[in-house]
Amino acid sequence: MTTHPDPVRDTPEAYSAPAQPTEPLAQPTAPAAAPARPATADWTDGVDTVPRAGGTPGELQPYTELGLRDDEYDRIRQILGRRPTQSELAMYSIMWSEHCSYKSSKVHLRQFGEKAPHSDRLLAGIGENAGVVQVSDELAVTFKVESHNHPSFVEPYQGAATGVGGIVRDILAMGARPIAVMDPLRFGAADHPDTARVLTGVVAGVGGYGNCLGLPNIGGELVFDPSYQGNPLLNALCLGVLPVSRLQNKAAAGPGNVVVLMGAKTGRDGIGGVSVLASATFDEGSEARRPAVQVGDPFTEKLLIEACLELYDGQLVVGIQDLGGAGLTCALTETAAAAGTGMRVWLERVPLREPSMDPHEILASESQERMLLVVEPEKLDAVLKTAEKWGVLATAIGEVTAPEPDGRPGRLLITWQDHLVVDVPPGSLVDDGPVYARPMREPADLILLQADRAETLPRPADPEALRETVLRMIASPNLADKTWVTEQYDRYVLGNTVLAQPEDGGVIRIDERTGLGVALSLDGNGRYARLDPYNGTKLALAEAYRNVAVTGATPIAVTNCLNFGSPEDPGVMWQFAEAVRGLADGCLELGIPVTGGNVSFYNQTGAAPIHPTPVVGVLGVLDNVADRVPMGFVPRPGGDHDQLYLLGETNVELSGSEWAWVTHEHLGGIPPQVDLLREKALAELLAEAARVGHLASAHDLSDGGLAQSLVESCLRRGVGARIAVPEQFAGGSMPFVYLFSESATRALVSVPRGHDKAFAALCAERGVPFELIGVTDPTGGALEVHGQFRIGLDELRTAHTETLPRLFGGAAAVEVPAPAAGVAGAVEGVPLPGTPAEPVDASEVLSEPIASAGPSPQTGAVDPVGSEQPGESSESDPGAAEPSPDER
């Protein structure tokens, strides 16, 4: 016992005795078992029991309200040979939801396995809590990205906080110590008043949870686009490290082993949370769903982490599974199904926050910070002792039972105060869920959209206009400095952060002795994917891959979070299928496997889906983090110049670009070409150049093109640069094209004197196009493009850094008039449906909870954009909808 007050544990029954052997239960109810009592029986102590269900086959059940279709309900009856009890119905409805069953995405996601390149490194892949990749003889890393989009719109602080908490437990369940987090975030228009509500809450939630957990935040994304106005995206990634020998699995093996629930008490928070919330498209009732968002307690999670790691090191657990979406239901059925065993659970032993909870509520609760352990009986005492040391509740709630004598998997039997309330084959919930090949159709507007190319837009064609464009672009919300957000995150804790935002990739040292480290980047571009989901997804993969490569790391594995609208919309389903095909093909071309991921559907308001937004994460290895290459130009004593090279080819590629959006609010055309074999050649060149010390800096080119990369590399350490536009880009608007085209497969590197010849030779040998474009200028204090403009670093810095503080740093943020709210795929010239935003009380917005505050008062007073517009019809019926999956 800890000897002083501990908010986590205050009840003596916390450490309950091991499960007592009990009399065998009534035989598992065979199909069509005789009713145990008259069919008219009253509920037993208010509980719908298995015998009662057998005796009341005609009782009406609210399966539609729970999101089940007629045929799905019929199938459950067929599996059980009777109607399900209330608890069983709750369990099936959750486990067969989109979120848990991937019923709409499964048929497509198979490609990740079928097209997977061979990898000797993969220790655990798709289907596990997270993919595990071996990085040295002794060490492996595990990483995964997940969405918590819907909760983060309803309750930004807690939605974001528990999004972080959930992915951290996935990593923990693999046997790893979580060592870093990242957070790709997408919001509506930066100057829309509701964005200030959602963004400030989400950022405070990500920081509040991650900081309190002691995990450095090493990168992410911050993207604004009107298509996310009513559907912000909160994706969260966690990285963990483990000795190869400590890999855990979730199988509840070994009949007679004890099932232990460890962590927070179970409450009513989050009942139906992700599973219900993510199942339905938002409508005007969204605010009423707030109680379904879980509430996070990072302190308990921190204790849970330490306790689990101690259990792993003591080899005290046989199997472990985190409790996330679908709570106990998911953990019990998945652990049993994975082992083919059965399980016997005494539900009344589950420590409750609210004693009045019904069995089906306990089974469905998504209370955070809980883990399910499978423990050999003789090790139970040691397990409870470890939990006690860390002040975490641990309770034996059941035991593993043997498979059926005929070899079939065992059954899951759950009693509530001696009443049998659940008797199911666990695999039927986990593996036998419905699978849909939903109709798909290319969106009708796509041809017109692609024909409306940004390359035809008017471009800046003189030096003054170009200078103004540079300043305008670097100040635009998507390209502006993100410090206002990232400084709310701890990036130093654990002392192994080698690179963090704003660098292209985060780099974490995982072995202090050898310097071994990993690099990570997450990228996505909804506009590109809207214009071409197949190539747009490949572009996201290419960018993340390149961002890892410019740090000097060698990319080895991929994770993904696929954020889309409603799968019931054939257009969305087509986008999804194309995106998956693009990612699977891309990974095959690059030779790195997808190790896991997550699907989030129903990100749409009314009939307007978000831009299809596949976010792709790439992990790389650095044998020695001392070789890492940062993005900033390096100050040289004495003012020495490094040489600047642009690697890759620049073409006239402006469609889908940040420039087209910022200056023309234009989205149309075909996104930049992507050639992954060239991408691979570039990455190999960068890794080799980093290893031999040719590179002083390296920076990826993506949104905002060369201009953005130059400015960022200059401002990072206050070192100017002088460049010249190559001859073939001279004249008219071509200098602009050179600076703002978003052609892929490019990087800006600075090479110290003495290395230039060798570097150029290496580029030639690897067949990577390279061009000397200028030099760094440590004493000049400016960025100069010869014959075009010269902008002082102070002026650049001011333009680059003032935007986010102006938007979100104070009351000014909410006084900006709301622009028309755009919808996905806005095409220039087409009026956008918009909801005039209501003014927000500045004091309310400012009172948004910060940092480590606990449950936060909800403040946003603004209606989500996109409450149904007159004349629009909702394509998805919230009542019949399903949710969004997790990953597999």
Partner: protein, 227 residues
């Protein structure tokens, strides 16, 4: 003989490993101490690390000060044992009344993590004797509740007695009164500092190596101190 420097782990401590690493890099032997164990195991100095002890759901450090290890530590500190409280450790030292004043929510209400310039005002403490008075150093600051407050009389006294150990320079990251980043007790053996010297001890992972001075200082102090 190598000095042994204790690093206390409370439930919710986060930078304990980093503090231990800094002690090691400075050339001393880190000794991990546990909040529930009142025994200081004969260490020569103690670091109370950063983090969120007990989640800091109550006032920061308010619960940690009641930990068994603190009972012993308070007495030892009054007897001259060098103690450095970093961030949450500073908050705990204030709650334990080893240092005056309190750390409150940042004035701008946000958690803030940045590389911060400090000016070392007092090089006479057990933890800062490796610096020159007036020396400017760069170390990370990261806190949500780092705004140092005390009544005017206390602040005047701290300044008059040379007990302001470091001040923020080039921008006050949290609204601390008189830009105070670190203070000491009247004996100079107990120091509380809001920024994180333990995160500035390696070129690869920190903004500078300036943080190392705090840990080498205590070694110097121990060598000079009567056994």
């Amino acid at each position: 003989m190598t000095a042994r420097v204790g690093v206390v782990t409370f439930p919710g401590s986060l930078d304990d490993g980093d503090a231990a690493r800094a002690v090691r890099i400075a050339g001393a032997e880190p000794v991990r101490l546990w909040h529930g164990d009142p025994d200081l195991h004969g260490v020569d100095a103690v670091v109370l690390p950063g983090g969120f002890s007990y989640g800091d759901y109550l006032r920061c450090g308010a619960i940690a000060r009641f930990a068994p290890v603190m009972e012993t530590l308070v007495d030892a500190a009054r007897g001259g044992l060098p103690v450095l409280g970093i961030c949450n450790g500073f908050q705990i030292l204030c709650e334990a009344h080893l240092l005056p004043g309190a750390l409150t929510r940042n004035q701008h209400l946000h958690f803030r993590n940045r590389d911060q310039v400090l000016r070392v005002e007092s090089a006479g403490t057990a933890w800062t004797n490796a610096f020159q008075p007036g020396q400017e150093i760069l170390i990370p600051v990261k806190n949500g509740e780092g705004c140092y407050v005390a009544d005017a009389a206390t602040l005047d006294q701290l300044e008059a007695e040379g007990r302001v150990v470091a001040r923020y320079v080039g921008g006050n990251p949290n609204g601390s009164l008189r830009d105070i980043a670190a203070i000491t007790n009247s004996a100079g053996n107990v120091v509380g500092i809001m920024p994180h010297p333990e995160h500035a001890v390696e070129a690869l992972t920190g903004p500078s190596l300036d943080g190392l001075g705090f840990f080498t200082s205590v070694l110097k102090h121990l060598v000079g101190a009567p056994a």
